[in-house]
Symmetry: C2
Subunit: 198 residues, 2 copies
Amino acid sequence: MQYPTPIAKLIESYMRLPGIGAKTAARLAFFTLDMKEADVTDFAKSLISVKRDLHYCSICGNITDEDPCDICKDTTRDRSTILVVEEPKDVMSMEKMREYHGLYHVLNGVLSPMDGTGPDDINIASLIQRLHDEEVTEVIIATNATTEGEATAMYLSRLIKPAGIKVTRLAHGLSVGSDIEYADEVTLLKAVEGRREL
Amino acid sequence: MQYPTPIAKLIESYMRLPGIGAKTAARLAFFTLDMKEADVTDFAKSLISVKRDLHYCSICGNITDEDPCDICKDTTRDRSTILVVEEPKDVMSMEKMREYHGLYHVLNGVLSPMDGTGPDDINIASLIQRLHDEEVTEVIIATNATTEGEATAMYLSRLIKPAGIKVTRLAHGLSVGSDIEYADEVTLLKAVEGRREL
């Protein structure tokens, strides 16, 4: 005996999500069955809306429901600095800090020869175009501290520096609140290298 | 700055699911953004369909897209035995075993005075009605091995036994493939109590 078709299909859909296996998918599907009808309808509508109403900002590559996005449109922001991130969610993390008031550029990916992702597959050309067209004095590279993120940072740095624009990278070091005991060697090395006078 | 409205709404919907917090919900929402449009449409449709096309079988309380459900309709099944479970997914687990050919009754809940769930809140009345109307000789109680499941089993047993119907409970003991070393005391006690001659 199988699950009734509607629930089998929903389980299949849940299983397409990352980190959700057959058991969790079944649990979520049965939970959905017990949810309020209005909540389920909302859920279905927002799924459709995310695909229909969101697109990438033609300037910075961030996701947005208007083009250009709120940040690119905001005239009060410092237009001389561009912070480069891998993903739209990284923009949200930076904005939560409430201390950065420049613009962003979202690569929507990272250089990864292993996965076949080269410079043409991510938003690098549009970044270079922006540096040509706008008065930018500093590019802050905030790709992740992974091998791919570092490689992308190096690549961008070599591409941008010759144009006489300052290129900086986020500091590596200990997380605030963390124990030295648990820090890995590479992080510790970076923390020592990047030490600052008190 | 906030997420664009469509994605914020989707994050909110994902967060209503059990075990999904703000970070996972955001990850799932961004994943949805990158999913194929057809898959997302399917997902939305199955959410709606689960609420619209599924209901409880009027006989056994299992979820079904037809009434009565496939199992209640199946004339080849042994109609003298009813196996009582808490949830529709328990029926699926039992069916996977492929060794039980009787009927089911789904309580859709469990007695739990702490949560205010009494006998009238779960499908007990309809079970008693079935025992009156049909020729049932054995009721197998397969509620979970939790405090609530045991209490429900005791309650049902006291209710059904006076009618002269055999009431049985699933055996407690060691899981097949498990180590005695890791079994808890109560399970071990039940395993010793329920020992069988070889």
